[in-house]
Symmetry: C2
Subunit: 410 residues, 2 copies
């Protein structure tokens, strides 16, 4: 099992120069150093906190939020068009902005999901002809990306394009458009509009189909100069953990395009597995799907193995787990890291142990050298250096900043 020693690609260093009020180096100053965030995104969905953010929290919400914030640093927020704008022209922008701000104020990075998708469509869209559908879809992208620019700067610009034009579960305007105009047209549309609305945004294409079809789509998109910033790979594992070998082989196949890989949707059940013959996970309906002690032990073990494998691959920049709690989880499956009753499962503790202990620089107090310099070396991310009641933020990244951060005391 690869341990921290092999994670050189996750390490960095930076220098802090402690100075007095006149700007003179302060030799041998005592400096507290603490990591505040990973460079790597350890994400989760932030779908459960609208009420909390709006000031209508229950005790259960508060408890869940504390667990969320103690482990994760990046939240995916739901922009499913049908839910977001059930009545044309009345988007629920303010509700989501409140939630987004709540996360941002707590140092959490944000991502919006998704701008174009054939599922969870607003029914009113089907009434329009295709040109109107495209114009409306373009306008919705521009509006929402612009409305959240500076708050949400990462987007799943388009979701599940491989199946988009041949999706046959329900008639919808996006599938019709994709069939008429082609997949590359759809992706270009999404990226064009999102980039126009927020040139600084990090834009992803995201898919669950990790076959050659997705690779071939990416080849075509890159050939067509669609400005993809990162490749999103979904790994919902309701039918069982795929194992380190398979997941790394998959990452390797997609890493060859030279783009960062985001593991956008990750799930492992802590109960019985979905039968392997189910093709569309949505087809599996059960009355109850309990979390079991054996399932929870297995989930914890697999979760750690999955994260170790992925954090060990240099192309992966982000892992988003798909749900903090079993309460209201997708498909009713026990994929949460917290049980429906609010108690954390072993998987929560196991992931916390990895992310916030093994891969985390523990707070320490060090003494500056004779020139007032302090070296910070550790997992890439954001740190705070504090001395004499003054603190400064330090970034430890892939490239060492030749200019030391100055901490001016008093």
């Amino acid at each position: 099992m690869p341990g921290p020693a092999t994670l050189a690609h996750r390490q960095g260093s930076a220098t802090v120069l402690v100075r007095d009020a006149e700007g003179r180096p302060l030799p041998h100053a005592r400096v507290e150093i603490a990591q505040t965030r990973h460079e790597f995104s350890f994400g989760n969905i932030g779908f459960d906190f609208d009420d909390l953010a709006a000031g209508r929290a229950t005790a259960a919400d508060e408890g869940l939020a504390a667990l969320w914030l103690d482990l994760f640093d990046t939240a995916t927020l739901p922009f499913y068009w049908g839910d977001f704008e059930p009545t044309e022209g009345e988007p629920r922008t303010e509700r989501l902005r409140t939630t987004a701000k709540w996360f941002a104020e707590r140092g959490v990075r944000l991502k919006g999901h998704p701008l174009v998708w054939h599922t969870v469509q607003p029914p009113w869209l089907l009434r329009h002809d295709l040109d109107t559908v495209e114009r409306t879809q373009r306008a919705r992208i521009r509006r929402d990306v612009a409305d959240f620019a500076g708050l949400i700067d990462t987007w799943d610009a388009i979701n599940e394009v491989v199946i988009m034009p041949v999706f046959d579960r329900e008639d919808n305007a996006v599938t019709r458009l994709a069939l008429d105009r082609g997949r590359i047209h759809m992706v270009r549309m999404a990226f064009e509009e999102a980039k126009a609305a927020n040139p600084e945004a990090t834009l992803l294409i995201n898919d669950f189909d990790l076959s050659s079809a997705y690779e071939i789509l990416l080849e075509g998109l890159l050939e067509a100069d669609v400005p993809i910033d990162a490749v999103g790979l979904q790994t919902h594992m309701h039918q069982g953990f795929r194992g380190e070998e398979e997941i790394l082989a998959t990452v390797e196949r997609f890493a060859r395009f030279g783009l960062p890989i985001h593991m956008t949707e990750t799930s492992l059940v802590s109960g019985s597995l979905m039968p392997p013959d189910i093709e569309d996970l949505n087809d599996y309906r059960v009355d109850t799907w309990p979390s079991t002690p054996e399932g929870e032990a297995r989930q914890a073990d697999e979760l750690v193995r999955h994260y170790r494998a992925l954090v060990g691959h240099p192309a992966v920049e982000s892992i988003t787990y798909w749900g903090i709690t079993d309460r209201g989880a997708w498909l009713g499956a026990p994929i949460g890291l917290v049980r429906a009753d609010g108690s954390p499962k072993p998987s929560y503790a196991a992931l916390h142990d990895l992310v916030k202990r093994e891969w985390w620089a523990q707070p320490q107090t060090v003494q500056a050298d004779a020139d007032g310099q302090v070296e910070i070396a550790g997992f890439r991310g954001t740190y705070v250096a504090r001395s004499g009641g003054i603190s400064v933020e330090v970034t430890v990244g892939a490239v060492r900043d030749p200019q030391p951060v100055v901490l001016r005391v008093r």
Copy 2:
């Protein structure tokens, strides 16, 4: 079952004007009209006739050739690189040219298969570095397309691109190149070189993988302006006939690109079926695979249904059956229309009945009108009009030639 009445897209008409030696219309002249070839390509592989073409025929070869020529009008010739140029710099050009000429002299159209493929590779290619592999592959395309220009003007420019970079059955230089440079690069290379060597050539991309992956590849290629002339779809049905509904749904998916569809490799067994769990047909090895009376009856029925469905779809321009005889057939399977002993199976008679009777204008003698004009109406293709010992070729195509063909008698 659709009959000729629904085949309006296969019908056409033309006018022949019978004139005397001085150019004056010959009223009421008697003209014999006979169809000589279909516009639609009814093809088969022409892999079995090298010896015959070289003047070393056995009686069995002669019999087989007669059956071939009486039913098919387009021959696919094998340009598998490993067989064609087993020693670098010594291509077997002359041998294939002799065979190609033999077919051409008998009015048969020709197609070369394939210019780029990862299977049947020359072993010497693996010794080269990737830049040399690409240069050598480009040179081989130019050489062979140029050498056969005017004789072979249709090519499978590239074969099985979906799997090409991930093909793992045996190490080969083309897979290595495809993995390094990408699928679109490979296809562009094939089309670029073939077009340069023969700007008049009809160039195909061909695949057995008829999933979304192939559609997505085509989207990317068209976006990249690769000049694809026709889309090749393989349908080897060793595991059973796919049925009219499935085959037409498949054609429909690929027809949406607006390119002609060529059914490049068609086969149906006249014996037991290959088990459905075999993924790569090449994995199935049996000592003997006999043709049976029940299998032959089934093959005949399915063959007719398959051809009727495809000829009924306006996007399809060509069907190539993959083998005339069971002798030496691919995988040892009884896919031939002729038994190993040289006797035709029911499938031969059934297909002949379709192609040369139901879909064929039977020879007739007609009388020109008072202006010496004769109308030919029937299946699109090449006809000959003959009067007074003089004959002229007439093309009956999609668009009626406003200028009548002149048959100048005496």
